[in-house]
Point group: C2
């Protein structure tokens, strides 16, 4: 038991994205029976975590990093060796770096993986032919250039939606109280899916060679590996694989 | 925070069944945004929990109740007010009663719901016209009469598969190393689904008026509410609703 390495999942951002990460951890594990599956702890406490986008846009001063750190420390006490949070917006440096510092200060053994860094690494390894990467994300991630900066730092070019497409199509697809993915993701509404397909077409016209689904809700509506020959990069799947690699690398399914 | 009632899920029996319970908790919750969803902790430690059927059939002496109790007590320490385990076989009295006693002895505040009792209650409330209930389950549950006894105690009649159908069709659909649901459930194999449809037909011919999916893996292959006008009763969905009712009854979606 002492060698057991639990995989921790900080869920609730949103709830279905947390669930989706756990599902992908199971899907990417080599297992022929129950007992072959890896130990996973999912803490989905959405009521405790303030909205990430609202914080980045200055609509609230409460940094969600506080609540996220508490949950990460609980996972550490449970014995988690590695953890991930399936929420792109929570990887904004003003949030992620605060969580990382808290874990360091508390002497946590848990290693919190960075989903965005893992995604860039995956892009370069698996799709080296793609250098112009289309990005779909929340308005918060868009405004602070979350994915753009990370892509550029890795020598890749970010292809972003025009401001009006971002605000009126992409962001609403996530947040609209009637058809948005945070209100209705199981199953997603047809409007949400069609809006995203339109946004992907918009990015292709602007030169994108691959599409990064830069908000974990988006993969719930676009589960395909490709849309009209454009590779779709799902950071939740990338994070699932990274968590297995960090804990039980010999159990990682080949791609 | 002191009023927060976490819903605990003892997963890993098997992993996808645990995930499926969490998904159903989310699906049956009234929520228009992330923060409206209920706090859920899922501990999926399949490597720690010995096979339930092997214990009931006398193939091993290790009672899985020990490991299950440890996980339940961890959930109690996390602040779970109610918990469920989406595994019918683990509700055999020789397992469930030992877990319940451990929790009592340890002074746990957590209330462990009994999925089988909840399912019988649900049957009587929602399908009072059905008195002959077909049961699909593992061989362990079948041999000890797990569902049969519970149904009879409630004044209902259990319609069970013939012994050869149980052994060669139903049990193999769950445990077969190539096409069984424990080896391959996401998505389930076509053989598994067709075998179950055949077994449902067999139970209908024997007089069943409703089908109780008495193993949580089965709902992964038979997600429908009805098969050829026979109501399909999914104990995982029943347990999800019972957990919401126990913690945040005003957030339970109407059926």
């Amino acid at each position: 038991m002492s060698a057991e390495k639990i995989i921790g999942v900080i869920g609730g951002m949103g709830p279905y994205a947390g669930l989706n990460l756990v599902e992908k951890i199971f899907d990417h594990t080599l297992a022929a029976s129950d007992a072959d599956h890896l130990p996973v702890a999912l803490l989905s406490y959405p009521d405790r975590i303030p909205d990430r986008t609202a914080y980045l846009l200055g609509e609230t001063e409460t940094n969600p990093a506080e609540a996220i750190s508490e949950i990460a420390l609980t996972l550490d006490r449970l014995g988690a060796a590695a953890a991930g949070m399936p929420c792109n917006t929570a990887h904004a440096p003003r949030i992620f770096n605060v969580v990382a510092a808290r874990l360091r200060d508390a002497g946590a053994r848990l290693r919190l993986l960075n989903m965005i860094e893992e995604t860039i690494r995956f892009l370069k390894e698996e799709h080296p032919e793609c250098t112009r990467i289309g990005v779909l994300s929340t308005l918060g991630s868009y405004r602070i250039g979350l994915h753009r900066r990370a892509l550029e730092a890795a020598g890749l070019e970010a292809v972003l939606p025009d401001e009006n497409v971002q605000e009126h199509i992409v962001h609403r697809t996530i947040y609209d109280p009637s058809y948005g993915l945070k209100a209705q993701s199981n199953p997603p509404s047809k409007i949400a899916r069609q809006s995203l397909l339109n946004a992907i077409e918009h990015l292709r016209e602007k030169g994108a060679e691959a599409i990064l689904l830069g908000c974990t809700e988006l993969a719930l509506a676009i589960p395909e590996a490709e849309v009209e020959a454009l590779p779709i990069i799902d950071p939740t799947a990338v994070l699932a694989r990274a968590l297995i690699r960090e804990t039980y690398p010999d159990r990682l399914k080949l791609l």
